[in-house]
Symmetry: C2
Subunit: 296 residues, 2 copies
């Protein structure tokens, strides 16, 4: 059932992205090709699913949220492109394909990332002008997305993650802080943006904040576990990278079994935060289960 | 007189940036320090001046435009940081100081650039929510800025500029196309954004488009001329770089004297486009003169 939903969302968002991304074979050099390579190369479309499901959870029509979901996916894609660069994580493989700077070159990877981040905000602004969403509400959405993606969110988390490499004396609070920024902040922005478009009130947003905080932890712990136990073929990238880089991870701090248990505990807490929404929250609840049960 | 205006704008925008940039000594690692280094290290504040002067040219109150001017300056600063990276122009010096990746490191330069671009949109969105500018108008401003900064504007121009390096058979139309994107599009966004905040109608915007197209050419031709004739001490960066990189430039295509004359012709055309605004346009007119007469 969740698989059906994820497939539907991937279709709807895929069509949206196809329409919103600049066409290949136009524009400056291979820039548009690089942008499309970064965004259209698969991936779980997890942030779009969070946007759409959060919109429906508060009673909204998820079709209203498609451009918002596309913008979040563009931001996620840009962050992967920049994270993979030689000066950062220096990864050669992503989703089973060469990373962007390997498939094209480093300059184009930096610039395609910049262009995707910029286009995300253009998409959000246009949706507010022409999409039937209240302008005032759309400005709030843009603010939430920028906050989650910027120095107090995702980019800040990436800085701290790089600094924590090889750190011997890391502890759990520090690890959670890094992940709350690096992945948690954009999850939060996805959920809040979708909910705002769907007509959420402050109480809705508070409950969803609670949900997404636990969801993000569950997802990240499971990610760390997968880096130890996962199948590189299914994941489309090399496993064991965290250990090689001496990264602070949950299995390293807690042990593998304890980390698995902790992921499940967080998924439970995430689900509990959804009770006020009743049956309308079932997709978000299933996403919490998926965050810990996934194979890649 | 223009110098006084530029100084006032630099003060107002400097105070705005000081307030809008995250405080040093807070946040993730040295990220905030790097962001401040990139933005607060001087510079002509030309884009802010265009924003503010365009706002006044159409009869607006330039204080309304300060956050918009700050956002444009953040975007300009991010673009310089990324352009200076080893994978791009590989510059060590900017405004008389080490470039960001030299003063900090390459990863932080990429991330600080990303964070500045993101913060620019956060600032614009907040100004629409709390700043007394119509939300609908602010969404239009965000759209204009994103368009000017993205794949169809500045980033697209940087891609084409990199591709044109060492090109032997470049011609004038191609050079103008590159500059229209690389520097012209953000000038245009600055002028349009300032004018929109100031209450411009469609005829105002059309005249200002005409102004800024000629202004951008005048500025860029003068820039190329300065790279040949300028004083490295005044400019705060090495001169002669274009020739070393085999870049397509106006002096290379037209000869130095013809390039100088062409810059002046463009400044005249820019000024002519301002006639409909009368005396209120005097700062924009002086900026057109400054674009060609400056020493750095």
């Amino acid at each position: 059932m969740l698989q059906d939903y994820l497939r539907e969302v991937a279709d709807e968002v895929g069509q949206g992205l196809e329409r919103l991304l600049p066409p290949a074979g136009s524009g400056s050099g291979r820039l548009h090709e690089a942008m499309r390579y970064a965004v259209l190369g698969g991936g779980k479309r997890l942030r779009p699913a969070l946007v759409m499901a959060a919109c429906e959870t508060v009673g909204g029509d998820r079709r209203q949220a498609v451009p918002v979901a596309c913008a979040l996916e563009m931001i996620h894609a840009y962050s992967l492109v920049h994270d993979d660069l030689p000066a950062m994580d220096d990864d050669d493989l992503r989703r089973g394909r060469p990373t962007l700077h390997k498939a094209f070159d480093e300059a184009l990877a930096i610039l395609a990332g910049d262009a995707l981040l910029t286009l995300a905000f253009e998409v959000l602004a246009s949706h507010g002008v022409a999409g039937g969403v209240e302008p005032q509400l759309m400005l709030r959405v843009i603010g939430e997305v920028a906050w989650g993606a910027g120095n107090q969110g995702m980019v800040g988390g990436q800085v701290e993650d790089l600094e924590a490499e090889g750190l011997q004396n890391g502890d759990l609070p520090r690890l959670e802080h890094i992940h709350r920024l690096k992945t948690g902040a954009l999850f939060r922005a996805s959920v809040r943006a979708g909910a705002l478009v769907g007509g959420a009130d402050d109480d809705d947003l508070e409950a969803l904040d609670d949900f997404v905080r636990h969801f993000g932890l569950a997802f990240q712990i499971a990610d760390d576990v997968l880096d130890v136990t996962g199948d590189a073929d299914i994941m489309g990238k090399a496993t064991g990278a965290d250990a090689r880089l001496g990264k602070l991870t949950y299995p390293a701090l807690l042990g593998l079994e304890e980390a698995r248990l902790r992921a499940q505990t967080e998924a439970t807490a995430a689900t509990k935060a959804l009770l006020r929404f009743g049956q309308r929250a079932h997709v978000l609840a299933e996403l919490a289960g998926f965050a810990v049960a996934r194979q890649g």
